[in-house]
Symmetry: D2
């Protein structure tokens, strides 16, 4: 069985705590790694702090070179990385390949942005007091960063921590999810081959004690977390003086106006609703369709949902596979059943087979049902009709969350209203909320998050501007 040493302070090591990695489709242990405890974390922090100076001193051509080498390294190992990813996470191979491609992009963007850090050159002479003075603002790296990434994008959501950290000249300790730690360790192998200053990166699956300690340790200057809302908001409280970025979940809404291209809307909603069994922060969970086209949309949508191919994630043509573990499959089943008991109707799906839960479409739901109000994180979509566009906006906004929303329309007024009124971080016109490219600002409002990611935006968060004012004349 393959073993993966963890990457601590620039070395691949083993610890006293072995950790098994399970293939959720076969339910077999297929790899072994180790968990870091407080001792290894301490090493990682110490070496991270020591690396701050060398990281800060890297000229931009050097940062660029390192990040380009990583991007190319990932591209070179593309298929292997995708297979490993699929095996850990149960993510169908075609989506796993897409995720690896995004990691390639992520480091490419980081390489480019590392040369374009936001600088300002300011007039200071707006008052007589500042006459003959001028100012510069250059961002400096904030210092050692801790990143925490979830299971559902084992590679790409770690890339969204590591790439901007390195681009901004910061060391980073990355804690991957325990169920899917291998992709980032494979990434660490690639990074280890570059000229990155020693100790600037650690990738540590952690035991609980180390995990907690990392959140509170004051030597760490920033915490970037992607995961569940409850955990995230608590971390903000415990983080002390450090900066915090939270990318949490949601129950994203989609609005389909009667002016839209229905075929296009259906196709995209199928992907947004069922890709990776809905285990996606911006999963298209709640779809609102204008009455005039509700029946048409619904029929087509159900038809396509039924055609999704179930199977082994390692097959090239699998569309949908098992959930990450049995516990999750049970939870999804329970939420759907509860909804049905409260009056919802199942249009398709609703069956669980082991860890697999069918693509499921509900209608007749009420906003307070769990399938509507909480993050389902499963292959479940609610379909509801609406009358006028303004009502649809209200329905989407009737949520504690606000990550992204999708709006299918060809009506300019509706575009404007959607952008003005939807309480979310991003509005996608003629696309699902699930749309994301890696250089766009990404993040939620309300309970869905704090701050913005997206390589360029993370880089800004990971830097501290320093002002220089000087006399320009004598």
């Amino acid at each position: 069985m393959k073993t993966y040493k963890i990457y601590c302070a620039g070395s691949f090591i083993e610890t006293d705590t072995p950790h098994q990695v399970i293939n959720p489709y076969t339910r077999e242990v297929f790899a072994r790694t180790w968990l870091a405890g407080p001792e290894e974390l301490e090493q990682a922090i110490t070496s991270g702090k020591q690396a701050e100076k060398a990281m800060k001193a890297l000229p931009s051509h050097k940062r660029h070179q390192i990040l380009m080498e990583i991007s190319e390294g990932i591209r070179y190992r593309r298929r292997d990385l995708a297979i490993s990813l699929a095996r850990q996470s149960g993510k169908p191979l075609k989506f796993a390949l897409g995720e690896i491609d995004r990691a390639v992009q992520g480091f490419l963007i980081a390489a480019e942005e590392s040369k374009r850090l936001p600088r300002e050159y300011l007039s200071i002479d707006w008052t007589p007091k500042g006459e003959d003075m001028e100012g510069l603002v250059r961002p400096f790296p904030v210092g050692l960063i801790a990143g925490i990434s979830p299971f559902n994008f084992p590679m790409n959501l770690a890339v969204h921590k590591i790439a901007p950290a390195l681009a901004s000249g910061n060391p980073i300790i990355l804690k991957p999810a325990r169920s899917t730690p291998l992709s980032v360790l494979e990434l660490a192998e690639i990074i280890d081959q570059t000229d990155l200053p020693a100790g600037a990166l650690s990738v540590l699956p952690m035991d609980r004690e180390a995990g907690n300690q990392m959140v509170t340790d004051q030597r760490i200057r920033m915490l970037s977390f992607t995961g569940s809302p409850s955990v995230g908001w608590k971390m903000k409280q415990q983080a002390g003086k450090k900066k915090v970025a939270l990318e949490l979940g949601g129950n994203a809404g989609v609005v389909v106006s009667s002016s839209a291209d229905i075929e296009d809307a259906v196709n995209k909603c199928i992907v947004g609703g069922f890709a990776y069994s809905g285990q996606v922060c911006i999963h298209a969970q709640r779809i609102y369709v204008q009455e005039e086209v509700f029946e048409e949309f619904t029929n087509r949508f159900i038809e396509k949902a039924k055609k999704l191919r179930k199977g082994d994630p390692l097959n090239d043509d699998t569309d949908i596979s098992v959930l990450i573990d049995q516990h999750e499959a049970n939870r999804v089943e329970q939420w759907v059943n509860e909804a049905v008991e409260q009056g919802a109707r199942i249009l398709t799906g609703g069956q669980k087979t082991g860890g697999y839960y069918e693509p499921t479409v509900l209608t007749g739901t009420k906003p307070e049902m769990k399938v509507c109000s909480l993050e389902i994180f499963g292959p479940v979509v609610t379909l509801e009709p609406f009358g006028n566009f303004s009502q649809a906006v209200d329905k989407v906004n009737n949520s504690n969350y606000g990550l992204q929303a999708g709006v299918f329309t060809n009506n300019l007024q509706e575009v404007n209203m959607a952008y003005e009124e939807l309480e979310v971080g991003g509005v996608m016109i003629n696309h699902v909320p699930t749309f994301r490219v890696d250089h766009m600002p990404y993040g939620g409002v309300k309970d869905s998050g704090f701050g913005r990611e997206g390589i360029k935006y993370s880089i800004r968060e990971m830097m501290e501007p320093k002002l220089l004012i000087k006399n320009k004349d004598f």
Copy 2:
């Protein structure tokens, strides 16, 4: 009779060439001023060159203060300035007041932008060669500027030369149109009260010789011209090493889609088509209406065109008055008659009374008729139907000009197509091409111009970036 001395090198002077100013409505001489000849131009150039240093040295709080005082000075004299403007130009008072308000805005924007000149702070270390170096780019004033402004916006188009020139730290010589020189001379009185360095502004109505000389003189570093295409493009050729900005004319098109709010479109097209008798660079000359709504649009448009109140520009409720002179009225009449001979039909208007030409709507025109292909600069509009949107875009593009275009639609696809395909400097959605606010980038493509105006954009044109590279470490 009131006399207006001209403003030469910081003094109000008389010359050997008196000049009469005529009220085009009454056809009476109502004021006297003087024309500058080569001698006065030489004085203005000499003092302008001397003022370059003092202008460059003004701290931004001082530039701001001067420009704010001008803005407030204009506001304070608002009504008097509007009456004077209306009297020179025949522009109805309500539009004259609007023009003065825009002048207030123009200097306000210039005041604000004078503190926000575009500066850059650059990483130089993108290659090993530039390691440990960094760069700054600050814009420096280009030097003495010549501005030439036309009769149709006697105040505001001069403001678009003077305000950015002062904001960018440049002296300027402004040559107003001979028919409407008084507004800028009144503005000079206001500016003369401020702390502007002596000799930094001259306002000189000129004889032909001085005018030509100003174009070719190499001490002048930039020429900013608003006027007719034929004159403008010739100046570009004669300008030698200096920079040139040309704001020329056009035969702006409007597209009204069946998805539009027709009432709104009609109302705006009435203003765009007939305000100041169409003597506007971005006059809505050619209106294309989708077949389904052509009749409705046409009926409403004609009805409103007929209701426009004709009269003395000094009356508060006059909508439309005489053209700038008899020659122009004759020319407009001739072009319309020629179109009719070639098959066009007059839906309303078509009559000339002295210098007044009725609001006129033509249909059945052909693209090669003068009323379509040239700039009519009169109260004449052509109305033609179109089938699909793409054809309307082609019709608008079938022109040597490309200043602005208006598109009334509520269809997102049409918005996108209009923006991608229309060959113009600006596309106005649900507005006429005549729309302009003073801080937006303004200017044409094809034969309509060269470069962009709009206070912030003019300021950039009037400055020369200078790079500083220095070592940042040792």
Copy 3:
């Protein structure tokens, strides 16, 4: 005796808790106001939440107009406001006038910046997935803000909360210091005359219970605090999901290189060291002078420190007056005495007379003494020699704080080293750390703060970017 009603939800009201305002120089109560309790806070929050919509909807010309009217209103009442400020705070009149002038500037800048909110227009097509799509990012107001301002700049540090809040379209509740609440209430009178939507501003001196409640209330979306580090960092922990900006204190360092203009350095250090008795966050507390010029600097500095005119803050020529209260004077005395016991020498000053503490210069100090390591917030300066420039940088950095630093030098290498190495938010070349203009980014690193202020920068913090992605072609 003059009474000042507090400004709650758009009305001037009294409460059950009267509050006396004392002139620290005469020690007399000279005015009365009231403290808000939980009930008034609830009203302010309720009306603030209701005003969110109206504030968001203000077009920029309206925001600009309101803010300009406030700026002009302050300018109009300049001298009265300064006298009131001086009377509450003991701040000598000439500095009080300067503070009012800065408030005029603050609202002017806010007016200008309200028209220039940071927007982005993004290419989305960096990958095939985003082909034919484009993105917009517009900032939206974050929602109701709570501002807490300290006693030492009773007007201007409140302006740094209120002006950016209004400019960014947010309602705000401002809690001034209890000892100096009147200036902001006077400001509220000015603001009350404008068209600001009802209930968008409350100015509430508060009792402890209301104060605590404001920090934790989740309807408030952002907390902007200026005050002491211990209070500030605790608030960050209690703030829940809201954004937090902290502007805390420091023990700012100054470095005087032998290449500097010593006379200039002395003059500026006198102001930076003793203005308002050092009760300034960026008070020049620790001055390090290169050995070659240490004696010369010290002699001149002491000479000038001795000449500072003590007296009633309301006298035009008073340079220095009493501290804010007796408790503070005692504390300063105690810290100095403790330093002397531990080996420091007093070069001038060291005497307390009632609430007045003399301008005091110490040498022979050690970094761990309170006068060095903590924020003295009194008219006390330490003067110490250094050998080479790099050592001086280390001395300044040997602190838990990092707000601003001043460096007097004419040596380019030293400028570079200072900017690269000093651990502060801002480095002032040939100026004291006390330098601040209101549009520059301002804020500290280490224990000195979290985030940046300065009108434009605060506005950014007070807004939430929302992304719109749309197809650009069809």
Copy 4:
């Protein structure tokens, strides 16, 4: 003998006019190519115009990919390209390799910038008139471009036309110098392998008739010329309505202050003065050294100048070789001799051997001598002392040219004065005027040029902003 077909409208072709390429060191014909005449130019223009649409339509990921492939293609053929370049131009191999590396960079930067075209998203509601409206500005390709590049950087100065043209979505016709046409033809081979739309690039060495025609043809929308001032300024006059960018020459000055690191200054001045025998637009021609260090600088400079290794450009260790042709060598000799006759002294050099002219240092020159006032374009440097820094600035400014200047100093006041007062496009602190990295803004003032190059800046020049204004609310 190797033959190089020319690249016309996407095909490698021969014409009726063969053209021989000479190795200036051996004086032998070593390759053959062809000259395009009016007929081939017509083909190139026609296909260029046709390619405008396809170029405009390329999504940014596609532009990025094409440009990255070109960059990598150049890197792959690095040594071969450098040898070919050295053979045509007589440029020593080490400099030729550096030039190829810059070409790699140029396309890399262009790839990156093609994704970051400058876009604006504007508030329009600064006045009531613009309420509820917003604006976008996207740059559109200007259309077919003509580039003319000189002999001295056969590859890199062509890259500065081609790379930004492609990055901005424009077709381009490139006319290389007749003496060094091969490098760009080799580049065309690389580009031909990519997915660039057919006919978007032509590389045509031209006969005189075609060359003239290209300047005046109105289908070409922009002319970007690098070459001699007299030719350039005349083109501006003949260019009609098209945009013009001129990168011309100069007689760049260097100032060495007594505060500078003399050794560093000498080393850099040797490179700036003699690299490629001074056949560089930003050749360090006039060196002014402060009196206190004049002797020291002069001695070291002469010593190093004497050590430069003369030889075959194809040898790895050759520092200096022949001029581009005999005519040039004769001209340089004549200018130096004329200077000596008028009183200048030769400190080293002054001898011609065939096409080789020795590294030559003159002193005792007068500003009006050709070696001072004109662009020498040869390995000749004048060394003169100065008293105070302000005088040195005047000496540098005493020129018709203003490209770049170098200033060696460690004095902050001198840095400020240099930046404020030097009349040039770029000031290099502690570096020679010869310093250039390919992403910096580059270009001259006075007679040295018109506009700015440097990939990002050229891209801006090659695009036309188009404004979209739309209502944002209904």
